[in-house]
């Protein structure tokens, strides 16, 4: 099929900065240059701190490397951005900028959280009347903006090079007054990580092999206060 071959050659030429046969080189450049500019501008917009940390030149290099190894298979550019943090965890980039993957993770999580809708939490007073046995069968529904972050770096945004290796856990949440980042204990993170997947509290505790409900009371009160859960359901 001629059309398929033409499209494959056109695409390859855009990415390799070459010119397909029979095409006007100056006119073809309009397409190839626009491709790289468009992709870089879109990523720059979603990761302003990463651009600051790496500097313009390294960031351009990153974009090129990223798109060569992980070309976009997505419908929209914002989905391309979601794949960048994992790419930064690869050997070469994590060696050059060990904190960069975490920084990108923070930026994309905040962005997605900000784009999510805030939903008024329903009434939880009934929940307090549940027996211990019933509570273990409850599934919680989270605010769409809730994002859980497990980081290996404590990032110093004033001086990125001074970022320190440190295990940190966060919950990013859009609250009525705006976006907030809440530090979490490791056990809280682990519980939320499962609850957000709609596991019942009982099965989460089983998976974590802990009988920690005593310690959980305080955490759940805190989460209810910030409106993390919008509703719940008793799974029989």
């Amino acid at each position: 099929m001629k059309l398929k071959k033409l499209q494959q050659e056109f695409k390859a030429a855009i990415k390799n900065d070459a010119v397909p046969e029979n095409l006007n080189p100056l006119r073809f450049k309009v397409y190839s240059q626009a491709y790289w500019i468009r992709m870089e501008e879109s990523l720059e917009e979603d990761f302003p701190l990463l651009v600051e940390a790496l500097g313009e030149d390294s960031f351009s290099e990153l974009v090129e490397d990223f798109l060569i190894h992980m070309p976009s298979k997505f419908s929209s550019l914002s989905e391309v951005s979601k794949a960048l943090p994992n790419f930064l965890s690869n050997k070469e980039w994590s060696k050059r900028y060990p904190y960069a993957a975490d920084l990108a993770r923070i930026e994309i999580s905040e962005l997605l959280s900000r784009q999510s809708r805030w939903i008024k939490p329903s009434d939880f007073t009934e929940l307090s009347k549940f027996s211990q046995e019933e509570l273990l069968k409850v599934v919680f529904y989270f605010q769409p903006s809730a994002r859980l972050l497990r980081l290996d770096w404590s990032i110093d945004t004033n001086e990125f090079a001074r970022s320190k290796k440190q295990k940190l856990f966060y919950l990013i949440l859009k609250e009525k007054c705006g976006l907030k980042t809440h530090p979490l204990q490791e056990f809280e993170f682990k519980i939320l990580e499962h609850l957000i997947q709609k596991d019942t509290l009982g099965s989460v505790l089983e998976k974590l092999e802990t009988d920690a409900p005593l310690r959980l009371g305080e955490s759940f009160r805190k989460w209810a206060e910030i409106g993390l859960f919008i509703s719940y359901e008793l799974k029989m």
Partner: protein
């Protein structure tokens, strides 16, 4: 739920900086808005985003048209089932007046270059595109609109003109045309043809919507940037399209260097003015006959 299409006069491509003007009321002269479908398809099945909630609010008082940018109707890849499903979900949710996308391809072999890429105007491409438009229309259960794109190069493989290609694709697939008069003008300069020939070749009953936008010149090539005011030549071509096809829902597309609403509103008013002037002109001619 749908508006009588004759009530759709002048519209605008709704972009986030102007959202406030549209959330609770509609500015003068705007009787519908067009939005980029993909901007609202991201949250997949959940539709939990802020943007979709805003769009629903706008939709509660104003007709909405969904305009796609990544259907890639001319790609030689299979049509993406996931994309179609998400588009259909959005249609069910928003109940747009109609849905459109571009007569182009955006990628191949599973990759997306996020650009509206040109086609060779060949018989092979016609049959290929027609078959795919039919698939999309069958799946969505409605006719779609396809838009002519701006292009910066021509393929030696082309066997017919762009307008012959567009016309034949629309007729064979029984779809409508979203005529972008700026793209016609840009291509007429870039490829050296008469824009009038392009318009005259199309039939009125196929054209359901018109796009008007600004372009810039770089190194002797006109680039469709949607970043500037509409040029006089493009206004003239719009006027010509009203003469030829009568009043058709027309709108301004502005995607970069977006000005304050008051500034953009002047261009929306310009569409209304030209449409009214030419319609009166047509009435006068009709009265004389």
């Amino acid at each position: 739920m749908h508006t009588n299409h004759s009530k759709l006069k002048t519209g605008v491509g709704l972009r986030s900086p102007h959202l406030d003007q549209f959330l609770n009321s509609s500015p003068n002269n705007v009787s519908w808005v067009e939005v980029v479908a993909e901007n609202y398809m991201e949250h997949e099945d959940h539709f939990q985003g802020v943007s979709i909630a805003n769009l629903e609010q706008v939709r509660s008082h104003l007709p909405v048209i969904l305009h796609g940018v990544s259907l890639s109707i001319a790609s030689t890849d299979p049509i993406k089932a996931s994309h179609m499903k998400r588009l259909k979900n959005l249609i069910d949710r928003i109940q747009p007046e109609w849905v459109s996308d571009h007569l182009c391809w955006t990628g191949v072999d599973g990759e997306n270059l996020h650009d509206l890429l040109p086609l060779p105007f060949t018989r092979e491409a016609i049959f290929h595109v027609v078959d795919r438009i039919k698939q999309v229309q069958d799946y969505l259960g409605q006719r779609i609109l396809i838009e002519n794109i701006s292009s910066y190069l021509e393929f030696t493989e082309s066997e017919i003109t762009e307008w012959e290609f567009l016309k034949e694709v629309a007729e064979r697939s029984d779809c409508h045309i979203l005529l972008d008069v700026n793209n016609v003008y840009v291509n007429s300069i870039n490829h050296g043809f008469d824009a009038q020939d392009y318009l005259e070749a199309l039939s009125q009953d196929r054209i359901q919507q018109i796009h008007i936008a600004g372009h810039v010149e770089r190194n002797g090539v006109l680039i469709d940037t949607h970043s500037t005011n509409v040029r006089k030549e493009v206004w003239d071509l719009y006027r010509e399209s009203v003469r030829l096809f009568g009043p058709i829902p027309a709108m301004i597309e502005r995607d970069a260097d977006i000005p304050e609403w008051e500034e953009l509103e002047k261009e929306v008013e310009m569409i209304s003015r030209i449409t009214t002037e030419e319609s009166h002109e047509a009435e006068k001619v009709a009265a004389r006959i």
